[in-house]
């Protein structure tokens, strides 16, 4: 993605020739190679024209992006150092007080802990399940295509819609408890979202149901890139199916797994919809996340300065974790052709 993939050597002369042959094209064709130096008035008006075109094409996106992404993010940083209820002038400067207050708030500390727990557990729970199902679906069997669609259904449903159904099923008198009674596991019935000791685990379970499909779909895509002859070689050497998976397939999935982990981690830190629907952060703040805390402080109590500070902390945590992940995990993939390496190893 980075860098310029399109070689342009020799274009200058060719397009110049084109201009000579076809006067109608004057002013357009040569602009491809403007970098090669001034060429009189035609070239400079050409340069201007090119700039205008670039501006024309980029303007709508840039405007939309600046107005609704960049400005609000900058504003959040600005609000975060004021005490402000959203009305009247922004004049009660409090420095970093909102930040220190937030970090000292036990509920917000709980929110950070919850987010980090959810991020870690998402990976720890979904990766083995996802891998197992992906390996299963990667074999040829009847109904394989249907299964690929089915496992992805929860991911496509809106979190709110899925959350509402789950909430009803998890009621004390709801389907989950009734089902447990029916199959003789009545001892396991719970106040799934009403018990502060259980609620976070319930949220985790629902999130797993909702998001494991994404892991499966991405891993299946990664499996497409695992060359089949490796399996043949392994089999000729007498490896079992599981040995082949463990020694060849799973290691080759490394890049896909790491990319998915990254997505899962960032998503976990921003978790809002599902928690808001299932528990609103309760009971007793057991499932509070940074995002639900932020929204509550902002909208229900109109503490815009304070909740902006929370937003910035949320951003900083995401940014730091993303950067650490980039540096120490994702960069392992750069510049090294794992497939080729692994091939050699197997060939030996």
């Amino acid at each position: 993605m980075a860098g310029d993939l399109t070689p342009r050597g020799g274009h200058a002369t060719r397009t110049a020739a084109a201009t000579a042959v076809n006067p109608g094209a004057t002013g357009h064709a040569t602009a491809w190679s403007v970098a090669s130096g001034p060429r009189g008035r035609a070239a400079s008006s050409n340069e201007w024209r090119k700039r205008l075109e670039i501006a024309f094409f980029v303007a709508p996106a840039l405007l939309l992006f600046a107005l609704f992404v960049v400005v609000p993010v900058v504003q959040a940083a600005r609000y975060s150092v004021f005490k402000w209820n959203g009305l009247g002038p922004l004049d009660d400067f409090v420095g970093l007080q909102n930040y220190t207050n937030a970090l000292a708030d036990t509920i917000f500390q709980r929110a950070i802990t919850n987010n980090l727990t959810i991020a870690a557990l998402s990976i720890a729970i979904q990766l083995p399940i996802g891998l197992l199902i992906a390996l299963l679906l990667n074999r040829k069997f009847r109904g394989q295509t249907a299964m690929r669609v089915i496992v992805f259904v929860p991911y496509v449903l809106a979190e709110v819609v899925a959350g509402v159904v789950w909430k009803l099923m998890l009621q004390p008198e709801g389907a989950v408890n009734a089902f447990l009674e029916t199959i003789g596991l009545g001892a396991f019935t719970q106040l799934w979202v009403g018990d502060s000791g259980v609620a976070l685990w319930t949220v985790m379970a629902v999130l797993t149901w909702k998001y494991v499909g994404l892991a499966i779909v991405l891993l299946l895509a990664g499996l497409q890139g695992v060359p089949e002859d490796l399996h043949e070689a392994a089999q000729i050497d007498g490896a079992s199916w599981w040995q082949a998976q463990r020694k060849i397939t799973i290691p080759l999935l490394g890049p896909t797994i790491r990319t998915w982990m990254f997505l899962s981690m960032i998503g976990s830190l921003q978790l809002f919809d599902m928690v808001w629907i299932l528990t609103k952060g309760g009971p007793d703040n057991a499932t509070v996340t940074m995002a639900t805390y932020l929204i509550k402080q902002g909208t229900e109590r109109s503490q815009y300065g304070y909740s902006s500070a929370v937003a910035i902390i949320l951003f900083v945590i995401s940014f730091v974790l993303a950067t650490l992940f980039q540096t120490f995990v994702l960069n392992r993939d750069a510049g090294e052709d794992k497939t080729a390496k692994r091939r050699k190893k197997v060939a030996r």
């Binding site: 342009r8 995002a291 909208t299 815009y304």
Partner: protein
């Protein structure tokens, strides 16, 4: 499912059975598939079936089949004007968002992919940075801004921020796509006297159709499922979107389990139909996004 037997098993021809994946599939694969499918679909099936029951039936036994089948819940949702209003609002907002994202996205991706100019990479990085800013971080200032622009309780108030936050991913997907189109096309159209703008409209836009559909589908799904923006920016019942409508309906009618499940099931249908028709696009879009 018995055709499995026809395939050569590994034991019968160990050396020539071909790649591992083409071996006979053990019945466990099917058992596991059924378990996975049931676990995945159970909540959806439960919601749809329970919509056909009365609250009395659900109260008596939450996990039985409808007996007798009750159609009142679905009928009353279908007859209610608010359900259709929510659906229409969702369609309009998602369509506006998608149109904005695709048009602005492909326009921006064009010079970023095919013009050489100073600061090109920097400009691209500006958009990539957007991937790091979650909506939640910007939501409070956005809330105040939309209020000050008098866009609260309008389609634009939701669609514009949604489009803006969908842009980075769109550009990240579209740029390599446009870069991959062969240079010969460009040269040929130049020889035929087309301007770069002409080239953009007549050749590039039609050719980048698949890329635009993929990004469009992703933006549409994200908008359709969006909750946070409508939650904060819309309080006029006439403008609620489906997710907002489902959430509000479920709190307002919390005692009416069957009614809520019928309402929710019907709200799921458009998303499921859309997904089933577009699933290849959605999946390839996600995979493309990950491969970058």
């Amino acid at each position: 499912m018995t055709s499995v037997v026809n395939q050569p098993t590994r034991r019968s021809s160990p050396a020539r059975s071909g790649a591992g994946r083409r071996r006979a599939v053990s019945p466990w694969v099917y058992v596991a598939s059924v378990v996975v499918a049931v676990g995945t679909l159970a909540p959806v099936v439960y919601a749809v079936l329970s919509g056909f029951r009365s609250n009395g039936q659900i109260g008596a036994n939450p996990v039985a089949l409808p007996n007798p089948w009750v159609f009142d819940n679905y009928v009353s949702v279908i007859m209610s004007s608010s359900f259709w209003q929510y659906a229409l609002n969702s369609v309009i907002i998602a369509a506006v968002t998608t149109a904005l994202v695709v048009v602005a996205g492909v326009m921006a991706a064009y010079p970023l992919a095919r013009y050489r100019f100073k600061g090109r990479q920097a400009l691209f990085n500006v958009f990539v940075m957007g991937l790091l800013f979650p909506l939640t971080v910007a939501i409070i200032p956005l809330f105040l801004m939309v209020r000050d622009l008098n866009l609260t309780n309008t389609y634009w108030g939701v669609a514009l921020p949604q489009a803006a936050f969908a842009l980075p991913m769109t550009i990240v997907i579209l740029r390599p796509f446009l870069m991959a189109l062969p240079n010969e096309l460009e040269e040929a159209s130049m020889l035929d006297g087309a301007s770069r703008i002409g080239f953009f409209w007549r050749i590039l836009v039609p050719l980048s159709g698949p890329g635009m559909v993929t990004t469009g589908v992703l933006a549409f799904v994200a908008s359709w499922n969006g909750y946070l923006l409508p939650l904060l920016f819309i309080n006029d019942p006439a403008l609620k979107t489906l997710p907002l409508g489902v959430a509000d309906f479920s709190t307002e009618h919390s005692a009416n389990t069957a009614g809520v499940l019928a309402f929710t099931s019907l709200a799921v249908i458009p998303a499921l139909v859309f997904f089933l028709t577009m699933q290849k696009r959605i999946v390839s879009g996600l995979q493309g996004a990950v491969k970058g």
